[in-house]
């Protein structure tokens, strides 16, 4: 009996303790954020979506090589001599057209490894965390801002130039080779001439020597 009364007392006590706690919380300010209207400021360095400032990219491929899951896909075309791509905001000269710069965010694991090696700081994590999609292919983000015609043109030009350069090089090589040949031939000729000259001289010498020898003997 006494035990039961004690138990009953404890029950009531714990109920009232609990109710006291909930009553206190009733007057505490809520911790909720009204999400679509307000959102949390992400701390600096938060890892979310990748962004590439394509105007600053020099196409060095360092980010793609740093990525452990190979989700960055870069294709570059060397700029021809007649165009000047300018410089990045950090002062590095740009030498490549970026015909393709795709990041597959569905594969990305937000490791941040691609951000650090970039010499121009143009690939960064932006605090943009809402990017769900219905189609997985939409996760492949295209950062290259060249139109397909532009890409084709640039590629053609680059190829032409490469061809021309190759030809020029070949020409040069040929010329060089010819020159070399010429030089060699000349050198040979000279050598031959000299040889003959020398031979004559030695002949003369020999005779004199012989003569002298003979003289000595005599």
């Amino acid at each position: 009996m006494a035990n039961q009364i004690k138990e009953g007392w404890l029950t009531f006590k714990s109920i009232f303790t609990g109710m006291g706690i909930t009553m206190r919380h009733l007057f505490q300010p809520s911790v909720t954020l009204q999400y679509p209207d307000e959102r949390e400021e992400l701390p600096p360095g938060a890892r979310a979506q990748l962004y590439v400032n394509i105007d600053d990219c020099i196409g060095c491929n360092l980010c793609a090589r740093a990525c452990p899951v190979n989700c960055i896909d870069i294709e570059t075309v060397k700029a021809t001599d007649d165009v000047d791509l300018g410089k990045t905001s950090t002062g590095n000269p740009k030498r490549f057209w970026l015909t393709r710069f795709n990041i597959d965010m569905a594969k990305c694991m937000y490791c941040d490894l691609c951000v650090h090696p970039c010499p121009t700081d143009c690939i960064t994590m932006v605090p943009e965390y809402e990017y769900s999609e219905f189609d997985r292919t939409n996760f492949v983000y295209h950062f290259s801002n060249l139109s397909p015609e532009m890409v084709a043109e640039v590629k053609d030009k680059a190829e032409e130039e490469a061809e021309r350069k190759k030809r020029e090089k070949e020409e040069m090589m040929r010329k060089k080779a010819e020159e070399k040949k010429k030089k060699e031939e000349e050198a040979k000729k000279k050598a031959a001439e000299e040889e003959t000259k020398k031979e004559d001289e030695t002949d003369a010498d020999d005779s004199t020597n012989k003569n002298s020898e003979n003289d000595d003997k005599e």
Binding site: T22, S30, V31
Partner: protein, 343 residues
């Protein structure tokens, strides 16, 4: 000819008006209470609760919910007993609604001033049990049936301590008429300043009120006794198969039931429409205000408990009722009767 129509029409209009008053109260209260419950739940859990619909703190949330529920498809399982299935929610609401007839809302207004008021109220509210079993059985679903059975067991059991504690008040008041019971509690003479409410009249009535409150929690299926619905284990209990407005009728009935039993508690223990300050702020209108205030405070406590306590198991529930509350309430009844005899 016109006279006969007039003779019929006049009482009919009176009936309709009298019927409309509690209905309006219930509907307005339900809209506020559903929103209030969600806000209270939110605040207790350090959240905000509904905020989007309407201007201030999402006040139009329950109206929006209502519109949503009206648009929902009305699904009836193929193998369900169609008539009983459709009828159960309305019967449940009718049961709690009918009981409002004897609640004295203010000194000037009571739906039906009958001598057997409390008796009528308790009798009519036991139809709730019936409708819950009806819903559970007609759904032809084992969860529903289990929910219905649990509810039957629970409500029949808790009816006993409820009636025993109501009886203690009746013993003190000496009348079954709720208006008389209320009128007996007017004035401020206890210890010179306390209102004449029954709760202050003798110590055993405080015990009676505690028992009464616990059993009305169980009767209106509120946490910690919401086993018939227990959405996490019985997938909704007896209302599993209900959708749209039929389900909403159940919810409405539950809220109406909460208000009804709270108002009964306010009438029996807290002086009904009597002002707590004697003659100050008394009168029919203020009476209504005080009465609703007391009732809503009890409703608030019910909600507060809901977001504090976990649910009981069936065996614990039965244990509380049969081995604690019922013996206690009977002993209490006898003690109150002795007290009344002595003083």
């Amino acid at each position: 000819m016109f006279e006969t129509i007039g003779n019929i029409m006049a009482p009919l209009t009176a009936i309709i008006i009298h019927a409309a008053i509690p209905l309006t109260i219930i509907l307005v209260y339900a809209l506020v209470a559903i929103w209030g419950e969600r806000k209270i739940a939110g605040f207790i859990q350090d959240r905000l609760g509904p905020m989007r619909v309407g201007g201030f703190h999402g006040w139009a949330q329950s109206i929006a919910d209502l519109l949503k529920l009206i648009q929902k498809e009305d699904i009836i399982p193929t193998d369900a007993s169609r008539f009983l299935f459709k009828f159960a929610p309305f019967m449940m609401f009718a049961a709690s609604y009918a009981a409002f007839a004897v609640i004295p809302f203010s000194s000037d207004y009571i739906g039906s001033n009958i001598n057997v008021g409390v008796f009528y109220l308790l009798a009519v509210t036991s139809i709730l049990t019936l409708s819950v079993i009806m819903a559970g059985w007609a759904s032809n679903n084992k969860w529903s049936l289990l929910g219905g059975m649990r509810s039957a067991a629970q409500m029949v059991s808790y009816e006993v301590p409820t009636i025993a504690t109501v009886l203690t008040v009746i013993v003190v008041a000496g009348s079954l008429n709720l208006m008389t019971v209320t009128e007996m509690q007017s004035g401020n003479d206890i210890l010179g300043f306390l209102p004449n409410w029954f709760i202050f009249q003798n110590p055993f009535l405080i015990v009676a009120f505690i028992i009464f409150f616990i059993s009305i929690l169980a009767e209106s299926h509120r946490v910690p006794f919401d086993l018939p619905e227990s959405e996490s284990e019985l997938v909704g209990g007896y209302q599993t198969e209900y959708s749209g407005m039929r389900w909403a009728m159940f919810m409405l009935a539950e809220y109406a039931d909460m208000l009804l039993l709270s108002l009964l508690g306010a009438t029996l223990f807290f002086g009904g429409w009597n002002s707590p300050f004697g003659e100050f702020m008394a009168g029919p209108f203020w009476g209504f205000f005080w009465f609703m205030l007391k009732g809503l405070l009890l409703v608030f406590v019910m909600m507060w408990i809901r977001w504090t306590l976990p649910r009981y198991r069936v065996d614990q529930l039965m244990h509380i009722c049969w081995s604690i509350l019922i013996p206690l309430s009977f002993v209490n009844l006898i003690l109150v009767a002795l007290w009344e005899m002595i003083f």
